[in-house]
């Protein structure tokens, strides 16, 4: 019996060892081996373009883009014989994954840099793309990231807008149209009227302003962009400031009060309210207004999700009572920028640049790009059918000013937002002036502390 147990133990150990060895070799060999397999037959069939010696490893930042990107990669490999490996980091795990992957042999050749602080971390690893073919295809440079030397280090390949999503059908039921909302005062009037008649109408004004982690970024990040944007606009800020004044925080309070006081969810239970909850409230027609971005379009209109009619939804700018805000457009920006690993081999760099160029110029590929990513700033890409993006472009074409993503300057962004959420939750549960002072402190003092942490 003892011998049998010993034998079993020994076998377990051996199996464990083999399994360990197996998985590690898989990880290191997969990049080369897996795409090569698919490449080999295709390469022999269609040797039209001379196969470059390099290969591409694309570390994808957008989970929702993964499926389409994998298909594009396979198509490209079939056409050119260049192996393209696409790996998608789990949502919220990109920086950890990128760090781990960059430390290995066979590091990613194409990766994402989200903002200026990301560029500070990865500047040494980012190729200067100023003269690249893909950069020449851009129709705007607004979303690119440039380092201190002015070199183009990351190309903004798609941009997003956020604002207040409106269910125009419900709005009409309540007796209003979009034309009734032109600034904060008119928004407030409509919202408060709908909220007061919620029982009779069967729906409320705003979806829950959840402060659970799955939802709080809509406010600590996106809504807080309003005071940051206007302050930076007044002060002419063009790089990360060491301090902020919080000059527009009263406006922030006004719009936040409007959100939490005019929804079916009591303000004291916001910390447990999730993003899915707010989305469902809007999708199921229980609320007229829902603050979110263009990326929600597919979820709201998709037949497998909420199946709202695109004709019945619209996106309007966030108004918070700032002078001249009737001329504001949506808040547009991006955290999606392509960078090419400058420490990769010359062949891999070339292969990666070729792949990116193909993505934005090939008719089929660019159509997929637009369909998946929405607004894509490249010359040869078709127009998006996303209603929110169409709305946004219409506002811009009317000559309204774009509200940029000022929050991209936020130092140590996760920590900054955590403090802000803590203070906003305390204020929502008990909306006193003293508690608002905590929000102001989280905003102004918090910024200064985080700036010191990051740069000190």
């Amino acid at each position: 019996m003892k011998k049998l147990i010993a034998l079993l133990l020994a076998m377990v150990m051996v199996i464990g060892l083999v399994a360990c060895g197996g998985s590690t070799t898989k990880e290191t060999q997969a990049p080369a081996a897996a795409p090569a397999e698919t490449a080999a037959p295709a390469g022999t069939e269609a040797p039209a373009e001379a196969a470059a010696a390099g290969s591409v490893y694309y570390l994808n930042f957008k989970p929702e883009f993964d499926g389409a990107l994998q298909e594009l990669a396979a198509t490209y490999t079939a056409k050119t014989g260049v192996p393209v490996k696409v790996v998608t980091a789990a949502s919220g795990d990109y920086s950890t994954t990128l760090n781990a992957q960059m430390g290995k042999d066979g590091a990613p050749t194409i990766y994402n840099i989200g903002n200026m602080s990301g560029l500070k971390d990865w500047d040494d690893y980012a190729l200067d793309l100023t003269d690249s073919a893909v950069a020449a295809e851009l129709n705007t440079t607004d979303f690119n990231l440039y380092n201190e030397a002015g070199e183009l280090k990351a190309i903004g390949y798609c941009y997003e807008s956020f604002g207040i999503i409106v269910n125009t059908e419900l709005l009409a039921t309540a007796g209003y149209t979009l034309d009734d909302i032109t600034d904060f005062a008119s928004l407030k009037a409509v919202v408060e009227d709908i909220h007061s008649r919620a029982a009779e109408l069967g729906f409320d004004a705003f979806t829950s302003a959840g402060l659970d982690g799955s939802s709080s970024w809509r406010f600590s990040g996106h809504l807080a962009n309003m005071p940051l944007f206007y302050e930076f606009r007044d002060d002419g800020v063009t790089e990360q400031p060491a301090t902020v004044t919080g000059a527009y925080l009263d406006n922030f309070r006004a719009i936040w009060d409007l959100y939490i006081n005019n929804s079916a969810t009591p303000a004291s239970s916001l910390t447990a309210a999730t993003g899915d909850q707010a989305e469902a409230e809007f999708g199921e027609g229980k609320a007229v207004f829902y603050q979110n971005g263009t990326w929600e379009y597919a979820n709201l209109t998709g037949a497998d999700k909420f199946g709202l009619d695109p004709a019945n939804i619209a996106m309007i700018p966030i108004y918070c009572g700032v002078e001249g805000e009737e001329n504001a457009a949506l808040c547009s920006g991006t955290e999606n920028c392509w960078a090419v690993n400058s420490k990769a081999s010359a062949e891999d760099i070339q292969a990666s640049l070729d792949f990116l160029y193909w993505l934005v110029t090939d008719a089929e590929a660019s159509a997929v790009l637009v369909e998946q990513l929405g607004a894509v700033p490249f010359k040869s890409c078709p127009e998006s059918s996303n209603k929110f993006i169409v709305d946004g472009n219409k506002l811009l074409s009317e000559g309204k000013y774009a509200v940029t993503w000022a929050f991209n300057y936020t130092p140590n962004v996760d920590s900054f937002r955590a403090t802000l959420v803590t203070a906003m939750a305390a204020y929502s549960a008990d909306p006193t002036d003293a508690n608002w002072e905590q929000v102001v402190s989280a905003f102004v003092d918090g910024w200064a502390i985080e700036y010191q942490t990051v740069n000190g």
Partner: protein, 302 residues
């Protein structure tokens, strides 16, 4: 009877010598796995704590700079205090409760096996899942009092204590049951005949005899308490995050989570997080060794 193979044949020189000669070969795979999986990363980790690095392959030596940054890090010392308090509370609670349950379930009672299974089950659920589930439970309860889990540090701390107790009591209970069942029946009988009361039997006979289980369980609860990460991340994520005296503090953050969030600040903090991890390791190692020495000395030979 004497024909039974007692293994003494293995002592023969003819068999022992080849085994001894080839022993290193058989040890090699495990030794290699140990080196690859533990020794080398450990040494590299210590090295990196003296470096500034973004990815480990391009580390530059900065000496003790990372360590000096820790002394002024208010968040780290707050996490240290939280962790120490948390470890003390959970060690006491988990061990006392799980011992009491084990003691109850080793008495002759109907359905004892069912209870054991039920008490053990929470341990089968992962920490992140537990954290989210319990955050909903706590928020649901606290909503009745118009407040919420991350409103202050007290709720978060005791919420985490309840969660971890719920998760680990069943596991420790199993160890204690095994220990209690190993207490020799004749000793208990002797105590009974000598007229020992129930409490005398418990404190003078049973507990000295289950000292090995107590050693194991205190060791496990101590290290678990210090290393706690997923439950902390999922339950409160360190919130509330407060500004106090010009510094930021995540009030319910324990050490492991503090190290994790330090690493994620930016590349200049990777080395600092690594230095914290080294201090963290030393702390856990010293405490665990001290605890082992203290409880081992109380164990009795049966």
């Amino acid at each position: 009877m004497s024909k039974k193979n007692d293994g003494s044949g293995l002592n023969s020189q003819l068999i022992r010598r080849p085994i001894q000669r080839w022993a290193p070969l058989f040890l090699l795979p495990v030794f290699a796995a140990f080196c690859i999986g533990f020794v080398w990363p450990f040494i590299q980790g210590i090295y990196l704590s003296f470096c500034n690095f973004n990815v480990p392959s391009d580390a530059t030596w900065v000496g003790l700079k990372n360590y000096s940054k820790i002394w002024t890090d208010v968040g780290f010392w707050n996490a240290f205090k939280n962790t120490a308090g948390f470890a003390v509370v959970t060690i006491v609670l988990i061990n006392v409760i799980s011992f009491a349950i084990a003691y109850a379930l080793t008495q002759k009672m109907r359905g004892a096996n069912l209870f054991r299974t039920v008490f053990f089950m929470p341990n089968l659920i992962g920490g992140v899942v537990l954290g989210y589930i319990w955050s909903m439970i706590f928020d649901g309860i606290l909503r009745g009092y118009a407040t919420y889990l991350t409103a202050n540090a007290t709720y978060g701390f005791w919420g985490l204590v309840i969660l971890v107790c719920w998760q680990q009591i069943g596991y420790m209970m199993i160890i204690y049951i095994a220990g209690l069942q190993a207490v020799p029946e004749d000793m208990l009988e002797a105590a009974r005949i000598d007229g020992a009361t129930n409490s005398q039997t418990l404190f003078r006979v049973i507990i000295p005899n289950v000292m090995p289980s107590i050693t194991t369980c205190t060791f496990l609860t101590l290290t678990n308490g210090f290393k706690l990460f997923d439950q902390n991340l999922a339950l409160t994520g360190g919130l509330p995050s407060i500004i106090e005296n010009g510094a930021k503090i995540n009030k319910t953050e324990l050490l492991a989570l503090n190290i994790y969030s330090t690493y994620n600040i930016n590349k200049d903090w990777h080395g600092v997080a690594q230095a914290k991890a080294v201090i963290f390791f030393l702390l856990v190692a010293v405490l665990a060794i001290a605890q082992q020495a203290a409880t081992r000395s109380k164990e009795v030979q049966q």
